[in-house]
Symmetry: C2
Subunit: 116 residues, 2 copies
Amino acid sequence: MAKSDKKRGASFLNGVPNLLILKLLSRREMYGYELVRSIQQASGEALVFAEGCIYPLLHVLEEEGCISSREQAINGRTRLYYLLTGKGEQRLAEMEREWDRVRQGVVQALNWEPVS
Amino acid sequence: MAKSDKKRGASFLNGVPNLLILKLLSRREMYGYELVRSIQQASGEALVFAEGCIYPLLHVLEEEGCISSREQAINGRTRLYYLLTGKGEQRLAEMEREWDRVRQGVVQALNWEPVS
DNA sequence: TTGACATGCCTAAAAGCTTTAGGTATAAAT
DNA sequence: ATTTATACCTAAAGCTTTTAGGCATGTCAA
């Protein structure tokens, strides 16, 4: 494998799963497996995150008190439904602001014309 | 320190230094120390990356052949000026496309209305 | 002239997040 | 009966940025 073919993991995705989980759960209750596919769908197939990313994030968010869970049995399978808490709403607002701040910063830098 | 006060590093910055270095160097030759401050300035003070992030990235990009360097002595200090190569232009185009793809995906997901 | 600060380069360890690559179990479909 | 989809989970690897230094020269004020 040529040196130029090395993986370039700089994928602009850091923090996006966290933001989108909170956003989707602010609209309605969802369970983990559902979130994985809903993020994909909601982003127009642009964003796909592995279960190995989503499930641990849900556990952290619940520990932090940003979401709460409720168990429900469906067809013999058990689903863990999550929903945003008040604290989660605050966190979501913070993250949306931060996303916008970064987005604007990048856009501005990309369009920046150096003062000659 | 309360559990809720833990560091939340999800900062949406992954890959941004790489993108902006290439973008700024596509406009004119710059040296590392200059890049650190130019990124900050060009983003309207929104984005600040440490030297410990920028310098190693420059070395990697040069190894990959995306940028080339030229040494110049100024006032007894030595500056390493970098400039984009043809390959670097390609890489920049790829990364701009990827940034846009992710940006659009996030915007779409944030504005997404679930079909009830 | 000495002390502080900005310039200009560098690196290694720590911290953080996502991917990869599994594992377990039940229901549905072929 | 076997494969596929559902539904949960975790640990290790892989990448990137931050933190926290180090080294050396020039400038400016005290």
